[in-house]
Amino acid sequence: MCLAIPGKVVRWLEREGTFAQAEVEFEGIRRIVHMACVTEAELGDYVVVHAGIAISRIDPAEAARIFETLSESDYGSEGVV
């Protein structure tokens, strides 16, 4: 039910307010998404969409963090975290 899918903002249709809308691409498929809650997103940003509205902008630095932790750590070898 709380499924939310990431997509790339490719075109703004209405930038501000209750009726803010953008075209968002999900692996080649474009859909109009309501953007009233994420008006700060820029073209090329990824947003997460639930029930037709964007609920958050993905932070790329935070998205990479898990992989940095994995490559820096010694999970399973020396046992040092």
Partner: protein, 294 residues
């Protein structure tokens, strides 16, 4: 798909699984709060991989399943009116009330439409001004902004034929109720990532302090879930109880301000019966009379 595929990487998942096995000294009992997390844990075989190391109790986090039966009955009743088109999410249609499900009502001729978004129901209200378009609004805090936005758009568009049948529920009161139970075995929570995307997680501070258990905001992909489980076990093994955010690519401490404001403008919080739970204090944002003709 970017931001999904990389979080399903089997090698990285194996690395985290190994670490979980390495640090775990006994079988801990965690609860993943959201049904979406349960689905992913089962689908990707994480539950069976962790058998004997972590017991995962599946949480109450499926809003359609906890929707009170009288609400479903009322929705079925509304849908039988000739001037009404009842709309809702596909998930909601199969859940039975006391006199059958919305799908049963649809088969019997009631006017019920499945929509992907409540905003699609607003579009329908524009297209069919002679009909009353009712959106059966179910869902947690993740979904409430979308239904609030639908109501606001309808109002600003001057539509008088759009209404909501509100059956939204809030997650945190249910978590608190579980912890108050004498039978509670949950030692840590994987908090629902998309709920926290909207609400933030600051409100869990009091829960962590009061019940002295780890709460880790967790996403839905295998690496997210494994990382959330690892964070819980690290705390449990160390005997600490802290609030952590393992879904920081989406979740900020205070959530999404615009979404929270929308919900506050449209809804007010009240007690609410949950199917299988009984009444949950402060469990739901109910519709406020503020929205005038709608």
């Amino acid at each position: 798909m970017k931001y999904l595929d990389e979080y399903r990487d089997p090698a990285a998942a194996g690395q985290i699984l190994d670490e979980i096995r390495r640090i775990t000294s006994r079988c801990w009992t965690l609860m993943e709060v959201c049904g979406g997390q349960t689905h992913s844990l089962l689908r990707h075989g994480i539950v069976s991989e962790l058998e004997g190391i972590v017991e995962l109790i599946h949480g109450p986090g499926c809003p359609v399943c906890v929707t009170d039966q009288p609400d479903i009955d009322f929705a079925c009743e509304l849908a039988q009116r000739r001037d009404v088109v009842l709309t809702s999410f596909g998930d909601m249609l199969r859940v039975p009330g006391r006199q059958g499900s919305l799908l049963d009502a649809q088969t019997a001729g009631a006017n019920i439409r499945t929509v992907y978004s409540p905003l699609d129901a607003v579009k329908l209200a524009r297209q069919q001004p002679q009909k009353e378009i009712v959106f059966f609004a179910v869902g947690f805090e993740t979904t409430a902004p979308a239904t609030a936005l639908a109501l606001k758009q309808a109002e600003l568009s001057g539509l008088t034929n759009f209404s909501l049948l509100v059956s939204h529920v809030r997650v945190q009161p249910a978590m608190e109720l579980l912890l108050q139970s004498a039978d509670n075995r949950v030692q840590a929570f994987l908090a629902a990532g998309h709920v926290c995307t909207v609400t933030g997680y600051e409100s869990y501070e009091s829960l962590v302090a009061q019940y002295q258990l780890p709460v880790v905001v967790t996403g839905f992909e295998p690496l997210d879930l494994l990382n959330g489980i690892l964070a819980c076990i690290r705390q449990l093994e160390a005997g600490t109880a802290r609030l952590e955010n393992q879904y920081s690519r989406l979740v900020k401490p205070s959530g999404n301000r615009a979404a929270r404001e929308l919900v506050q403008q449209v809804y007010q919080i009240c007690d609410r019966p949950w199917r299988g739970f009984g009444s949950i204090p402060n469990g739901v944002p109910g519709a406020t009379p503020r929205m005038g003709p709608i």
